[in-house]
Symmetry: C2
Subunit: 354 residues, 2 copies
DNA sequence: TTGAAAGCGCTACCAT
DNA sequence: ATGGTAGCGCTTTCAA
């Protein structure tokens, strides 16, 4: 009873074993899978169906990749731990876009975190053939490992010299949003900012000017500059003590920051929020404090996630094409030579909160 | 100028090359990375720092895995295309939980779609050492490929003979939800169901009894049975023409199904929805039709996603621990021998819509 | 504590 | 159209 039954082989199948059983050479089996033009259609068909019957699923990817030096896998390096990205609406929309394109192309994607520690034991970064890097990795030294691989790279939401970059018009969108809000306010302040990862530390609360990240590497900083320029156009300013930082774009961080911001004196008449999640949280805090929106407080978000459209009141926000960004990043990384670095437009969507 | 500079080598580094440059054997380098106890601490340290300097990131995973037969990667097989899962709140929460545990363990995860077509070219399924299978794959034949691998498998939200399974008490939760709603209604119907993937086809709308999937393989079907049993307890029934199917748990499908359901005659007094997304959409349709919730229409959801808590009115729904489910699935797959199959509790959260 | 060497499964070149 | 075969980079005995 220990022997193989007719159709359910127990032993691990290899190309060589199959070749032996079918009485052909290993090269022929390999060709059947990889180069249909190298053998007669009938033989190929026969081989393929026999493999199916024997339970051979095709060449072992490790061996193949050792031999060819390629895996066909696309790496998506995320700025932080993976868990964070599954919590963030914008990130999941981006990944949705990426996976749509890759799925259609039957290409697999490997998600990699942007933390150094992850790579100490293994050198996973060498598995993919090409990379999408979504946001500047938390530990930028991992970029160095990547560069060493000499593989095609597309960066998203930041730039890396010598590589294709896909960005969004953060400055333009943020400026529109702030300008609109200020106009609604009749040019009167004070206004405050609920920022997102404006500084390197994970402190939630007021920031200090000298902690601010560089605009080159931080889209948040770009948005902040836009807010400030818009304010300046109205003769206002947004000093550091009117800026509250959050670490994650989530409900808890948003509530904490908004609560602080709305209990400051004088109380802000507008809150410029760097994500819809943060705006949504601010809206809730305002309601809890019985502050009328938009009459007593204007709120603008960023991203234009579905929730912004469904809340009460609906959130005025800056649309950015997250899904499209993902699709495009995937297309760019698959055919780098057909694309150039690009900045996608953003667009102010005026709704009820500002 | 074509020669290597002191610190930025251009050539692809291999273990062998490094061994040569350092004047030790390949085995020693390998040991430095994999078996610290096989050489002196000082030598190991020296080797590691030299590798760093030379730009050698550690053993090539393909070669290592070819040799050892293991990769250390955990596969997460999803029921559908990847893109779908990034769109679904429940799935992303699950993935969040999985990735938390895997990240902490410095283990990589490979997402694989549950569609046959994906595997025709490559046999990606052989890369991971162990598998989490989240929901019954759309093409169940891919399970066969998996089984052949003889690797540890944990199934989530369905069962596979001979493997660890992690489920949630769908029946209990749904029954509580339906019973509560019926009580609110004073035992009066009619009631309707907005189901999720109750049938194999992607039809959105009314279903027929004989299309229903088997409860063994469909959590939706389990929920449906619970709804029906609860109805029977009140002397009511839920015939097939009172059940509307959706294909995805999203806004568009939900709106379409709810619109149909709410224009049926007689109009349902309660909508039992198989996800919060669907309930949210139903709520919107009710508002559009000027139907008062909960006075004229009661709505219950399933999952208890954050949005259910934030809507107006807030959604009465069944909580299921999605993140925890992900964490546990990851822990189970990493140490199968320490766990048994399990059913996690669900819990009715009564809020404003029912 | 270190080194020599076999071989993991496959592909691609070169023969036939 | 098909077959023979070297070698991809590594780990792991075994011997020194």
């Amino acid at each position: 009873m220990n022997k193989n039954s007719k159709k359910a082989p127990k032993k691990r199948m290899t190309l060589k074993a199959v070749a032996q059983m079918l009485g052909v050479s290993t090269a022929t089996i390999s060709n059947a899978f990889n180069r249909p033009d190298q053998l007669s259609a009938s033989l190929r068909e026969h081989i393929l169906s026999e493999c199916e019957r024997l339970g051979y699923n095709g060449p072992n990817p490790a061996a193949r990749s050792l031999r060819t030096g390629a895996t066909g896998i696309v790496g998506v390096m995320l700025a932080e731990r993976l868990a964070y990205n599954f919590r963030d609406g914008c990130a999941t929309e981006f990944l949705q876009g990426v996976s749509e394109v890759l799925d259609d192309a039957r290409i697999n994607m490997l998600l990699l975190p942007g933390r150094e520690e992850f790579y100490h034991q293994h050198s996973m970064e060498s598995i993919p053939d090409r990379y999408i890097v979504y946001g500047p990795p938390r530990d930028i030294d991992v970029i160095e490992r990547l560069e060493r691989q000499q593989k095609p790279v597309v960066t998203v939401d930041f730039n890396l010299p010598g590589h294709l970059a896909l960005n969004v018009d953060n400055y333009g969108g943020a400026k529109q949003a702030a300008t609109h809000t200020l106009k609604q306010l009749g040019g009167e302040g004070p206004i405050a900012v609920i920022g997102l990862r404006l500084i390197h530390s994970d402190h939630i609360g007021r920031i200090q000017e000298d902690q601010l990240l560089d605009p080159d590497v931080s889209i948040s900083r770009q948005r902040l500059e836009a807010y400030r320029d818009a304010a300046a156009d109205s003769g206002l300013s947004i000093p550091a003590d009117r800026i509250w930082n959050t670490h994650e774009s989530n409900w808890a961080d948003g509530v904490k920051a908004a609560r602080e911001a709305l209990s400051a004196t004088p109380r802000p008449k507008a809150l410029l929020c760097m994500s819809d999640q943060l705006a949504l949280a601010a809206l809730r805090v305002a309601r809890d404090l019985s502050i009328q929106v938009p009459e007593q407080l204007r709120i603008v978000g960023f991203d234009d996630t579905p929730e912004a459209r469904r809340s009460h009141p609906t959130i005025t926000t800056v649309y950015q094409p997250s899904i499209e960004k993902g699709r495009l990043a995937a297309m760019m990384v698959l055919n780098p030579e057909r694309y150039q670095s690009r900045v996608l437009p953003t667009q102010l969507h005026i709704r009820e909160t500002a």
